[in-house]
Amino acid sequence: MKSIVEVQQLIKKFPVGNGFFTALNEVNLSFAEGEFAGLVGPSGSGKTTLLNIIGSLDVPSEGEVLVMGHPVGKLTAAQAALLRKQQLGFIFQSYNLLPVYTVYENVEFPLLLLDLPASERKQRVLETLEWVGLTDKVKSRPAALSGGECQRVAIARAMVKRPALVLADEPTANLDSENSHRILQTMLKLNEELKTSFVFATHDEKVISYLRRIIRLQDGKVVADELVNL
């Protein structure tokens, strides 16, 4: 299958005091189209850092990361924004919905950035909200939603532009068991139906049980990379 992310000899260091903390150390990975993979490991293992670099929100200190053929470390801020806008979807642990917008407006936001016509935006937003089962909440604001509903809005917002890759950072951390399973089933369904690639950063067993590929990180290094046969 076609590779959409290539991570080569990636090193990421953060300045700490007079020295540096190495968050990622010589990581080599590749993600193919349609993958449902997870970066698994304890806190501080480098999961979120790797996800941020793949998401072009951060840059490597050394090595190279190619996302859809674009070298993340060499992109300008505008090119990185364009890559995120067109190809990537993000799902965050604490949902990160825009609080002043309604559910509809939150999901519509990425399409506004893509400058799509109003009629197409409306059609896509309603269709995506239907996938996640929130058509009855279009006018609600995030404050009026439950945690599970907020995360479903976040999934809809990530999926509405049909991205090639969705990066999900601890998407179930704030959810109860029932909501977690519902969310994961929704994402799995979208992965199967739309062939969207999903990369998770997680240490939640519920998420791990859904993954098709598990990449274990420890102290910034890949210690295991295994496919799961279901």
């Binding site: 990160n96 002043v100 936001f109 917002r157």
Partner: protein
Amino acid sequence: MLLFKTALQSLIGNGLKTWLTVFVLSLAIVMIIIMQGILHGWSRQAIDDAQRWELADGQYWCGGYDPWDPFSLDSATASIPEPLARQVEQGLLEPVLITQATVYPEGRMQGVMLRGIRPGQQLLEIPTAVLRGDSMGPVPVVVGAFMARQLKVKLNDEMILRWRDKNGAFEAVDIRIAGVFKTAVPSIDNGVLWIGLENLQAMTMRQGEANILVKSEAAEVIEVEGWTFKTVDKLMEATLLLVKTKSAGTSVFYVIFLLLAMLAIFDTQTLAIFRRQREIGTMVALGMTRGQVVKHFTIEGSLYALLAIVVGAVWGTPLIWYLSAVGISFPMEAAEFGVPMADVMYAAVTPGLVLGTVLFVFVVTAIVSYLPARKIATMNPTEAIRGKIL
């Protein structure tokens, strides 16, 4: 359009806070327009009243005449020269003779400025027709309402007037208050007694003489030796300067209003950077460039000004119309301030004033919104997403 839409959505989503800020800003806009309008109105009314009551279309001053120096009066009196005398005969110029005098209302002694003017004059609004009187009784004089109160006299009251003639000899005569007029021009009211010109000329032995000649619009300005023509602008210089000073003083109030509004916006926007950093990080993650985020917040702040203009127009227009048409009463005496000031002041609001104010507020709001928004450019999106920076 995208940024406008997203900024507008944010603004509406902010709910009550938005409307409170918008109201304060609209208050600033309307108050600036009203205050400036009233000052413009005052300035316009001051010129208009001064022209109608005292200056007409300008004045010729004799020699070293100085209205602020009573000791110059005797030396600043002269016969009206031929070319000007012809215009006086035609009613195009109105001569005024001025001298110091003392009155004794009910035995009290009070210094006054005695001004002689022709009873039949039509140029100024001073009710001089009553100065004709008859040759037998006390000499008729007219005074302004403020002066009447100062002297504690009323219509038809009589008192003694004492003055010195051209040769320095003291003379006295009985005078009668033949008229009391109300004016917004203190310089013809405060401390002034108006008397028939011929009477005063005879009393001071200055037949055919005057200190000033008030020019009508129809009269041509002529260069005459010993007389200097002063335009209305020149004569109003001090008053307009005072209005201008008042305007500067009053601007302190609307600067305070504006500062309050700007503080509200600056506070809202600065707080937004702190409070909404996760939101900003999310916007960046979704594909907004930093420039777009800065524009988004600048537009969002500027929209406060736009909304305030609309809200201000809704509640401010009827108020401004009322102040322009009906005016606002000031329970104080103009003469006490020494400048022309009517009992009722009208706001003179011009399109230029409205546009200028609105534009000024809009630009200031945009700048105030931009400054905290610029901070966004320094944000690290990965930290912002987690709400961990600043």
